[in-house]
Subunit: 224 residues, 2 copies
DNA sequence: CCATTAATGTCGATG
DNA sequence: CATCGACGTTAATGG
Protein backbone atom coordinates (compact mmCIF):
# COMPACT_ATOMS: atom_id res chain seq x y z
CA UNK A 1 0.00 0.00 0.00
CA UNK A 2 1.68 3.16 -1.24
CA UNK A 3 0.42 6.49 0.07
CA UNK A 4 1.46 9.77 -1.51
CA UNK A 5 0.24 13.22 -0.64
CA UNK A 6 1.22 15.76 -3.22
CA UNK A 7 0.39 18.83 -5.19
CA UNK A 8 -0.17 17.45 -8.68
CA UNK A 9 -2.09 17.64 -11.89
CA UNK A 10 -3.70 14.66 -13.53
CA UNK A 11 -4.67 13.51 -16.99
CA UNK A 12 -6.81 10.50 -17.82
CA UNK A 13 -7.62 8.90 -21.12
CA UNK A 14 -9.66 5.78 -21.74
CA UNK A 15 -13.39 5.18 -21.86
CA UNK A 16 -13.60 8.91 -21.21
CA UNK A 17 -10.96 11.64 -21.01
CA UNK A 18 -10.35 14.07 -18.19
CA UNK A 19 -8.03 16.71 -16.90
CA UNK A 20 -7.52 17.97 -13.37
CA UNK A 21 -5.41 21.07 -12.81
CA UNK A 22 -2.93 21.62 -10.02
CA UNK A 23 -3.98 20.96 -6.42
CA UNK A 24 -3.28 18.87 -3.31
CA UNK A 25 -4.44 15.25 -3.46
CA UNK A 26 -3.95 11.87 -1.91
CA UNK A 27 -2.68 9.13 -4.21
CA UNK A 28 -3.19 5.55 -3.15
CA UNK A 29 -1.60 2.57 -4.91
CA UNK A 30 -2.57 -0.92 -3.81
CA UNK A 31 -0.85 -4.28 -4.11
CA UNK A 32 -3.17 -5.40 -6.90
CA UNK A 33 -2.33 -2.36 -9.02
CA UNK A 34 -5.38 -0.34 -8.00
CA UNK A 35 -4.59 3.35 -8.38
CA UNK A 36 -6.78 6.08 -6.91
CA UNK A 37 -6.51 9.85 -6.61
CA UNK A 38 -8.60 11.52 -3.90
CA UNK A 39 -9.46 15.17 -3.54
CA UNK A 40 -10.32 16.52 -0.09
CA UNK A 41 -14.05 16.24 -0.80
CA UNK A 42 -16.38 13.48 -1.96
CA UNK A 43 -16.54 9.77 -1.45
CA UNK A 44 -15.33 8.65 -4.85
CA UNK A 45 -11.81 9.16 -6.17
CA UNK A 46 -11.57 11.89 -8.80
CA UNK A 47 -9.49 9.62 -11.02
CA UNK A 48 -8.77 5.92 -10.68
CA UNK A 49 -7.54 2.76 -12.30
CA UNK A 50 -9.00 -0.68 -11.58
CA UNK A 51 -7.02 -3.68 -10.23
CA UNK A 52 -4.56 -5.15 -12.71
CA UNK A 53 -3.10 -1.97 -14.10
CA UNK A 54 0.63 -1.39 -14.34
CA UNK A 55 2.08 1.56 -12.49
CA UNK A 56 5.43 3.18 -13.11
CA UNK A 57 7.42 6.22 -12.11
CA UNK A 58 9.56 8.40 -14.35
CA UNK A 59 11.42 11.65 -14.21
CA UNK A 60 11.13 14.26 -16.93
CA UNK A 61 12.55 17.75 -16.79
CA UNK A 62 12.90 17.62 -13.01
CA UNK A 63 9.29 16.52 -12.56
CA UNK A 64 8.22 13.16 -11.17
CA UNK A 65 5.53 11.50 -13.26
CA UNK A 66 3.36 8.56 -12.22
CA UNK A 67 1.76 6.52 -14.96
CA UNK A 68 -0.90 3.88 -14.57
CA UNK A 69 -1.71 1.82 -17.65
CA UNK A 70 -4.39 -0.77 -18.19
CA UNK A 71 -5.69 -2.79 -21.14
CA UNK A 72 -9.18 -4.05 -21.89
CA UNK A 73 -10.26 -1.45 -22.10
CA UNK A 74 -7.17 0.68 -22.78
CA UNK A 75 -6.88 3.28 -20.09
CA UNK A 76 -4.11 5.50 -18.83
CA UNK A 77 -3.65 7.94 -16.00
CA UNK A 78 -0.72 10.33 -15.83
CA UNK A 79 0.03 12.21 -12.62
CA UNK A 80 2.48 15.09 -12.70
CA UNK A 81 3.86 15.56 -9.19
CA UNK A 82 4.75 19.17 -8.47
CA UNK A 83 5.35 19.03 -4.73
CA UNK A 84 5.42 15.83 -2.70
CA UNK A 85 4.40 16.38 0.92
CA UNK A 86 4.53 12.78 2.00
CA UNK A 87 5.29 9.42 0.40
CA UNK A 88 5.26 6.17 2.31
CA UNK A 89 4.23 2.53 2.06
CA UNK A 90 3.09 -0.34 4.24
CA UNK A 91 3.05 -4.08 3.88
CA UNK A 92 -0.44 -4.83 5.05
CA UNK A 93 -1.37 -8.12 6.69
CA UNK A 94 -5.02 -8.72 6.05
CA UNK A 95 -6.47 -12.19 5.63
CA UNK A 96 -10.07 -11.39 6.47
CA UNK A 97 -12.99 -10.90 4.14
CA UNK A 98 -16.03 -8.76 4.70
CA UNK A 99 -19.06 -10.62 5.92
CA UNK A 100 -22.21 -8.82 4.94
CA UNK A 101 -25.92 -9.48 5.24
CA UNK A 102 -28.97 -7.71 3.94
CA UNK A 103 -28.82 -8.60 0.25
CA UNK A 104 -31.63 -9.67 -2.03
CA UNK A 105 -30.21 -13.19 -1.97
CA UNK A 106 -30.59 -13.32 1.80
CA UNK A 107 -34.26 -12.37 1.48
CA UNK A 108 -34.86 -15.26 -0.91
CA UNK A 109 -33.00 -17.58 1.49
CA UNK A 110 -35.26 -16.37 4.27
CA UNK A 111 -38.47 -16.86 2.29
CA UNK A 112 -37.31 -20.34 1.32
CA UNK A 113 -36.61 -21.28 4.93
CA UNK A 114 -39.64 -19.55 6.46
CA UNK A 115 -42.33 -19.37 3.76
CA UNK A 116 -44.92 -18.25 6.32
CA UNK A 117 -43.19 -14.83 6.26
CA UNK A 118 -44.55 -14.42 2.74
CA UNK A 119 -48.01 -15.65 3.61
CA UNK A 120 -49.80 -18.51 5.34
CA UNK A 121 -49.94 -21.53 3.08
CA UNK A 122 -47.14 -20.39 0.77
CA UNK A 123 -45.06 -23.31 -0.45
CA UNK A 124 -41.86 -22.39 -2.34
CA UNK A 125 -40.96 -24.78 -5.14
CA UNK A 126 -38.18 -23.29 -7.28
CA UNK A 127 -35.44 -20.65 -7.09
CA UNK A 128 -33.71 -18.97 -10.01
CA UNK A 129 -36.18 -20.41 -12.50
CA UNK A 130 -35.10 -19.45 -15.99
CA UNK A 131 -37.51 -17.85 -18.44
CA UNK A 132 -36.92 -16.05 -21.70
CA UNK A 133 -37.39 -12.79 -19.80
CA UNK A 134 -34.78 -13.60 -17.16
CA UNK A 135 -34.49 -15.57 -13.94
CA UNK A 136 -37.38 -15.66 -11.47
CA UNK A 137 -36.10 -15.20 -7.90
CA UNK A 138 -38.63 -17.56 -6.35
CA UNK A 139 -41.69 -19.54 -7.45
CA UNK A 140 -44.21 -21.44 -5.41
CA UNK A 141 -47.89 -22.09 -4.77
CA UNK A 142 -50.39 -20.58 -2.38
CA UNK A 143 -52.90 -22.39 -0.15
CA UNK A 144 -55.23 -22.76 -3.18
CA UNK A 145 -52.44 -24.23 -5.33
CA UNK A 146 -52.29 -21.06 -7.40
CA UNK A 147 -48.92 -20.35 -8.96
CA UNK A 148 -46.96 -17.49 -7.31
CA UNK A 149 -44.07 -15.63 -8.91
CA UNK A 150 -41.99 -13.56 -6.46
CA UNK A 151 -39.54 -10.80 -7.31
CA UNK A 152 -37.37 -9.65 -4.39
CA UNK A 153 -35.72 -6.28 -3.85
CA UNK A 154 -33.49 -5.50 -0.88
CA UNK A 155 -34.55 -1.84 -0.89
CA UNK A 156 -37.52 0.23 -2.03
CA UNK A 157 -38.91 -1.30 -5.21
CA UNK A 158 -39.43 0.99 -8.21
CA UNK A 159 -41.29 0.67 -11.48
CA UNK A 160 -38.42 -1.29 -13.00
CA UNK A 161 -39.04 -4.10 -10.51
CA UNK A 162 -42.70 -4.19 -11.53
CA UNK A 163 -41.83 -4.30 -15.22
CA UNK A 164 -39.39 -7.11 -14.52
CA UNK A 165 -42.11 -9.05 -12.69
CA UNK A 166 -44.59 -8.35 -15.48
CA UNK A 167 -42.16 -9.96 -17.91
CA UNK A 168 -41.96 -13.11 -15.79
CA UNK A 169 -45.73 -13.40 -15.40
CA UNK A 170 -46.19 -12.99 -19.15
CA UNK A 171 -44.14 -16.17 -19.63
CA UNK A 172 -47.08 -18.00 -18.03
CA UNK A 173 -49.83 -16.35 -20.05
CA UNK A 174 -50.87 -19.71 -21.48
CA UNK A 175 -51.40 -21.03 -17.95
CA UNK A 176 -55.01 -22.12 -17.53
CA UNK A 177 -55.20 -20.49 -14.09
CA UNK A 178 -54.40 -16.95 -12.96
CA UNK A 179 -50.78 -16.52 -11.90
CA UNK A 180 -49.99 -14.27 -8.93
CA UNK A 181 -47.15 -11.82 -9.44
CA UNK A 182 -45.66 -10.49 -6.21
CA UNK A 183 -43.05 -7.89 -5.31
CA UNK A 184 -41.32 -8.61 -1.99
CA UNK A 185 -39.35 -5.63 -0.67
CA UNK A 186 -39.02 -3.42 2.40
CA UNK A 187 -40.93 -0.68 0.60
CA UNK A 188 -42.28 0.37 -2.79
CA UNK A 189 -42.57 3.71 -4.57
CA UNK A 190 -46.01 5.20 -5.20
CA UNK A 191 -45.57 4.94 -8.96
CA UNK A 192 -44.55 1.31 -8.70
CA UNK A 193 -47.48 0.42 -6.44
CA UNK A 194 -49.92 2.09 -8.81
CA UNK A 195 -48.50 0.21 -11.79
CA UNK A 196 -48.49 -3.02 -9.79
CA UNK A 197 -52.17 -2.75 -8.89
CA UNK A 198 -53.15 -1.87 -12.45
CA UNK A 199 -51.53 -5.16 -13.47
CA UNK A 200 -53.42 -7.04 -10.73
CA UNK A 201 -50.21 -7.88 -8.97
CA UNK A 202 -49.30 -7.64 -5.30
CA UNK A 203 -46.81 -6.15 -2.87
CA UNK A 204 -45.66 -7.95 0.28
CA UNK A 205 -43.46 -5.94 2.65
CA UNK A 206 -40.40 -7.76 3.99
CA UNK A 207 -37.08 -6.49 5.31
CA UNK A 208 -33.87 -8.19 4.26
CA UNK A 209 -32.42 -10.22 7.15
CA UNK A 210 -29.27 -8.74 8.64
CA UNK A 211 -28.21 -11.35 11.16
CA UNK A 212 -24.52 -11.99 10.75
CA UNK A 213 -23.67 -15.65 10.69
CA UNK A 214 -20.39 -15.29 12.54
CA UNK A 215 -19.80 -14.79 16.22
CA UNK A 216 -19.78 -11.24 17.56
CA UNK A 217 -16.66 -9.34 18.59
CA UNK A 218 -17.25 -10.09 22.25
CA UNK A 219 -15.26 -13.33 22.12
CA UNK A 220 -11.67 -14.39 22.56
CA UNK A 221 -11.02 -12.79 19.16
CA UNK A 222 -10.69 -9.47 20.93
CA UNK A 223 -7.54 -10.70 22.59
CA UNK A 224 -5.63 -11.56 19.42
CA UNK B 1 -7.63 14.95 5.25
CA UNK B 2 -6.91 12.46 8.03
CA UNK B 3 -4.96 9.34 7.14
CA UNK B 4 -4.71 6.39 9.52
CA UNK B 5 -3.05 3.09 8.89
CA UNK B 6 -3.95 0.55 11.53
CA UNK B 7 -4.74 -2.99 12.43
CA UNK B 8 -8.42 -2.85 13.19
CA UNK B 9 -11.77 -4.56 13.02
CA UNK B 10 -14.88 -2.95 11.67
CA UNK B 11 -18.61 -3.18 12.14
CA UNK B 12 -21.24 -1.56 9.98
CA UNK B 13 -24.97 -1.31 10.41
CA UNK B 14 -27.45 0.49 8.22
CA UNK B 15 -29.10 -0.49 4.96
CA UNK B 16 -27.19 -3.74 5.42
CA UNK B 17 -24.99 -5.03 8.23
CA UNK B 18 -21.39 -6.18 7.97
CA UNK B 19 -18.43 -7.28 10.00
CA UNK B 20 -14.75 -7.31 9.12
CA UNK B 21 -12.36 -9.12 11.42
CA UNK B 22 -8.92 -7.94 12.42
CA UNK B 23 -6.46 -6.87 9.74
CA UNK B 24 -4.37 -3.96 8.44
CA UNK B 25 -6.30 -1.21 6.64
CA UNK B 26 -6.10 2.38 5.55
CA UNK B 27 -8.68 4.73 7.03
CA UNK B 28 -9.31 8.01 5.26
CA UNK B 29 -11.40 10.82 6.72
CA UNK B 30 -12.10 13.87 4.58
CA UNK B 31 -13.05 17.43 5.39
CA UNK B 32 -16.66 16.88 4.35
CA UNK B 33 -17.09 13.94 6.73
CA UNK B 34 -16.45 11.24 4.14
CA UNK B 35 -15.12 8.14 5.87
CA UNK B 36 -13.58 5.23 3.96
CA UNK B 37 -11.79 2.04 4.97
CA UNK B 38 -9.55 0.43 2.36
CA UNK B 39 -8.13 -3.07 2.33
CA UNK B 40 -4.99 -3.76 0.32
CA UNK B 41 -7.02 -5.11 -2.60
CA UNK B 42 -9.84 -3.78 -4.77
CA UNK B 43 -10.82 -0.36 -5.97
CA UNK B 44 -13.77 0.19 -3.68
CA UNK B 45 -13.51 0.75 0.06
CA UNK B 46 -14.63 -2.25 2.11
CA UNK B 47 -16.70 0.04 4.33
CA UNK B 48 -17.54 3.69 3.89
CA UNK B 49 -19.71 6.58 4.93
CA UNK B 50 -20.90 9.30 2.52
CA UNK B 51 -20.19 13.04 2.91
CA UNK B 52 -22.06 14.66 5.78
CA UNK B 53 -21.59 12.01 8.41
CA UNK B 54 -20.34 12.79 11.88
CA UNK B 55 -17.11 11.18 13.00
CA UNK B 56 -15.86 10.89 16.57
CA UNK B 57 -13.14 9.18 18.54
CA UNK B 58 -13.49 7.51 21.91
CA UNK B 59 -11.45 5.38 24.25
CA UNK B 60 -12.87 2.26 25.86
CA UNK B 61 -10.89 -0.25 27.87
CA UNK B 62 -7.60 0.95 26.38
CA UNK B 63 -8.88 0.67 22.81
CA UNK B 64 -9.37 3.58 20.46
CA UNK B 65 -12.71 3.50 18.72
CA UNK B 66 -13.72 5.52 15.66
CA UNK B 67 -17.40 6.03 15.03
CA UNK B 68 -19.00 7.45 11.93
CA UNK B 69 -22.71 8.18 12.10
CA UNK B 70 -25.12 9.30 9.40
CA UNK B 71 -28.88 9.80 9.15
CA UNK B 72 -31.24 9.36 6.21
CA UNK B 73 -30.77 6.56 6.05
CA UNK B 74 -29.45 5.74 9.52
CA UNK B 75 -26.02 4.23 9.17
CA UNK B 76 -23.12 3.68 11.49
CA UNK B 77 -19.58 2.41 11.20
CA UNK B 78 -17.51 1.46 14.23
CA UNK B 79 -13.79 0.90 13.85
CA UNK B 80 -11.89 -0.75 16.71
CA UNK B 81 -8.23 0.24 16.41
CA UNK B 82 -5.92 -2.47 17.73
CA UNK B 83 -2.57 -1.16 16.54
CA UNK B 84 -2.04 2.20 14.91
CA UNK B 85 0.93 2.22 12.53
CA UNK B 86 0.51 5.76 11.29
CA UNK B 87 -1.87 8.63 11.87
CA UNK B 88 -1.49 11.99 10.19
CA UNK B 89 -3.43 14.78 8.56
CA UNK B 90 -3.03 17.45 5.89
CA UNK B 91 -4.75 20.69 5.11
CA UNK B 92 -5.20 20.34 1.39
CA UNK B 93 -5.36 23.29 -0.95
CA UNK B 94 -7.37 22.29 -3.97
CA UNK B 95 -9.53 24.70 -5.91
CA UNK B 96 -9.75 22.79 -9.17
CA UNK B 97 -12.56 20.67 -10.50
CA UNK B 98 -12.31 17.72 -12.82
CA UNK B 99 -13.05 18.43 -16.45
CA UNK B 100 -14.29 15.32 -18.18
CA UNK B 101 -15.60 14.39 -21.60
CA UNK B 102 -16.99 11.20 -23.08
CA UNK B 103 -20.44 11.08 -21.51
CA UNK B 104 -23.73 10.22 -23.13
CA UNK B 105 -24.69 13.89 -22.90
CA UNK B 106 -21.67 14.83 -25.02
CA UNK B 107 -22.76 12.34 -27.70
CA UNK B 108 -26.17 13.99 -27.91
CA UNK B 109 -24.49 17.40 -28.09
CA UNK B 110 -22.38 16.11 -30.97
CA UNK B 111 -25.33 14.64 -32.88
CA UNK B 112 -27.22 17.90 -32.42
CA UNK B 113 -24.30 19.95 -33.77
CA UNK B 114 -23.30 17.55 -36.53
CA UNK B 115 -26.40 15.55 -37.52
CA UNK B 116 -24.62 14.10 -40.56
CA UNK B 117 -22.66 11.89 -38.13
CA UNK B 118 -25.92 10.03 -37.52
CA UNK B 119 -26.83 9.82 -41.21
CA UNK B 120 -27.15 11.96 -44.29
CA UNK B 121 -30.36 13.95 -44.18
CA UNK B 122 -30.94 13.56 -40.45
CA UNK B 123 -32.51 16.65 -38.94
CA UNK B 124 -32.68 16.74 -35.12
CA UNK B 125 -35.74 18.46 -33.72
CA UNK B 126 -36.00 17.83 -29.97
CA UNK B 127 -33.83 16.78 -27.03
CA UNK B 128 -35.03 15.30 -23.75
CA UNK B 129 -38.54 14.84 -25.08
CA UNK B 130 -40.74 13.57 -22.27
CA UNK B 131 -42.95 10.52 -22.73
CA UNK B 132 -44.77 8.37 -20.21
CA UNK B 133 -41.96 5.86 -20.59
CA UNK B 134 -39.19 8.35 -19.81
CA UNK B 135 -37.18 10.99 -21.63
CA UNK B 136 -36.10 10.48 -25.22
CA UNK B 137 -32.46 11.56 -25.69
CA UNK B 138 -32.98 12.92 -29.19
CA UNK B 139 -35.75 13.03 -31.80
CA UNK B 140 -35.64 14.10 -35.40
CA UNK B 141 -36.58 13.27 -38.97
CA UNK B 142 -34.75 11.50 -41.79
CA UNK B 143 -34.45 12.57 -45.41
CA UNK B 144 -37.93 11.11 -46.09
CA UNK B 145 -39.45 13.01 -43.15
CA UNK B 146 -39.84 9.78 -41.19
CA UNK B 147 -39.74 10.21 -37.40
CA UNK B 148 -36.52 9.02 -35.73
CA UNK B 149 -36.13 8.24 -32.03
CA UNK B 150 -32.53 7.98 -30.85
CA UNK B 151 -31.29 6.43 -27.63
CA UNK B 152 -27.62 7.11 -26.84
CA UNK B 153 -25.21 5.04 -24.77
CA UNK B 154 -21.64 6.08 -24.06
CA UNK B 155 -20.48 2.45 -23.90
CA UNK B 156 -21.54 -0.90 -25.36
CA UNK B 157 -25.34 -1.03 -25.45
CA UNK B 158 -27.09 -4.02 -23.87
CA UNK B 159 -30.62 -5.40 -24.00
CA UNK B 160 -31.74 -2.84 -21.41
CA UNK B 161 -30.99 -0.03 -23.84
CA UNK B 162 -33.10 -1.77 -26.50
CA UNK B 163 -36.00 -2.27 -24.09
CA UNK B 164 -35.77 1.39 -23.13
CA UNK B 165 -35.92 2.41 -26.80
CA UNK B 166 -38.81 0.02 -27.38
CA UNK B 167 -40.73 1.82 -24.64
CA UNK B 168 -40.19 5.18 -26.33
CA UNK B 169 -41.22 3.92 -29.78
CA UNK B 170 -44.38 2.39 -28.32
CA UNK B 171 -45.45 5.88 -27.26
CA UNK B 172 -45.82 6.62 -31.00
CA UNK B 173 -47.75 3.48 -31.90
CA UNK B 174 -50.70 5.57 -33.05
CA UNK B 175 -48.45 7.38 -35.51
CA UNK B 176 -49.73 6.90 -39.04
CA UNK B 177 -46.22 6.29 -40.35
CA UNK B 178 -43.52 3.89 -39.24
CA UNK B 179 -41.25 5.33 -36.53
CA UNK B 180 -37.53 4.50 -36.62
CA UNK B 181 -36.01 3.45 -33.31
CA UNK B 182 -32.24 3.80 -33.20
CA UNK B 183 -29.54 2.90 -30.71
CA UNK B 184 -26.46 5.13 -30.99
CA UNK B 185 -23.45 3.74 -29.12
CA UNK B 186 -19.81 2.77 -29.66
CA UNK B 187 -20.84 -0.90 -29.70
CA UNK B 188 -23.72 -3.27 -28.97
CA UNK B 189 -23.92 -6.76 -27.47
CA UNK B 190 -24.97 -9.70 -29.65
CA UNK B 191 -28.15 -10.24 -27.65
CA UNK B 192 -29.07 -6.60 -27.87
CA UNK B 193 -28.49 -6.49 -31.64
CA UNK B 194 -30.63 -9.60 -32.13
CA UNK B 195 -33.45 -8.12 -30.06
CA UNK B 196 -33.09 -4.80 -31.86
CA UNK B 197 -33.45 -6.39 -35.29
CA UNK B 198 -36.41 -8.48 -34.22
CA UNK B 199 -38.10 -5.22 -33.30
CA UNK B 200 -37.18 -3.68 -36.67
CA UNK B 201 -34.99 -1.13 -35.02
CA UNK B 202 -31.47 0.01 -35.91
CA UNK B 203 -27.97 0.43 -34.53
CA UNK B 204 -25.69 3.30 -35.52
CA UNK B 205 -22.12 3.12 -34.20
CA UNK B 206 -20.74 6.34 -32.74
CA UNK B 207 -18.02 7.02 -30.20
CA UNK B 208 -18.55 9.62 -27.50
CA UNK B 209 -16.47 12.75 -28.18
CA UNK B 210 -13.52 13.16 -25.82
CA UNK B 211 -12.08 16.51 -26.82
CA UNK B 212 -11.37 18.52 -23.70
CA UNK B 213 -12.53 22.09 -23.93
CA UNK B 214 -9.69 23.55 -21.89
CA UNK B 215 -6.16 24.29 -22.88
CA UNK B 216 -3.60 21.53 -22.55
CA UNK B 217 -0.88 21.35 -19.88
CA UNK B 218 1.74 22.73 -22.22
CA UNK B 219 1.12 26.31 -21.22
CA UNK B 220 2.39 28.71 -18.63
CA UNK B 221 0.36 26.74 -16.08
CA UNK B 222 3.26 24.37 -15.81
CA UNK B 223 5.34 27.08 -14.23
CA UNK B 224 3.01 27.82 -11.31
C1' DC C 1 -37.26 15.39 -0.21
C1' DC C 2 -38.61 11.75 -3.71
C1' DA C 3 -37.93 9.62 -8.17
C1' DT C 4 -35.12 8.72 -12.21
C1' DT C 5 -30.95 7.59 -14.61
C1' DA C 6 -25.91 7.79 -16.13
C1' DA C 7 -21.39 6.01 -14.76
C1' DT C 8 -14.11 5.48 -16.74
C1' DG C 9 -19.63 2.80 -12.37
C1' DT C 10 -17.40 -1.88 -9.63
C1' DC C 11 -17.86 -6.58 -8.65
C1' DG C 12 -19.19 -11.28 -8.81
C1' DA C 13 -21.28 -15.23 -11.14
C1' DT C 14 -22.01 -17.67 -15.17
C1' DG C 15 -21.69 -19.59 -20.00
C1' DC D 1 -13.37 -13.61 -22.64
C1' DA D 2 -18.21 -11.44 -22.80
C1' DT D 3 -22.69 -10.87 -20.70
C1' DC D 4 -25.87 -9.95 -17.02
C1' DG D 5 -27.55 -8.13 -12.80
C1' DA D 6 -26.96 -6.56 -7.85
C1' DC D 7 -25.11 -2.91 -5.10
C1' DG D 8 -25.13 -0.09 1.87
C1' DT D 9 -24.14 1.30 -5.57
C1' DT D 10 -22.85 6.95 -5.91
C1' DA D 11 -23.87 11.28 -7.96
C1' DA D 12 -26.51 14.55 -10.51
C1' DT D 13 -30.84 16.33 -12.02
C1' DG D 14 -35.58 17.50 -12.22
C1' DG D 15 -40.18 17.69 -10.08
Amino acid sequence: MIIILAQCHVEYEGRARSRLDKGDRLILIKKDGTFTIHQELNLDPVNWQAPGCKNKVSLKENQIILQSIKTKPDEEITVYLDTVYCATYYNCVDTKNLEIRGYEKHMVDLAWEKPELIEKGFRPTRREYQTENGFIDLMGTDKDEKLMILEFKSRKAGTNAVKQLKGYVECFMDNKEFVRGIIVAPDITDNALELLKSLQMEFIPLNPPKDLLTKKASTLDSFF
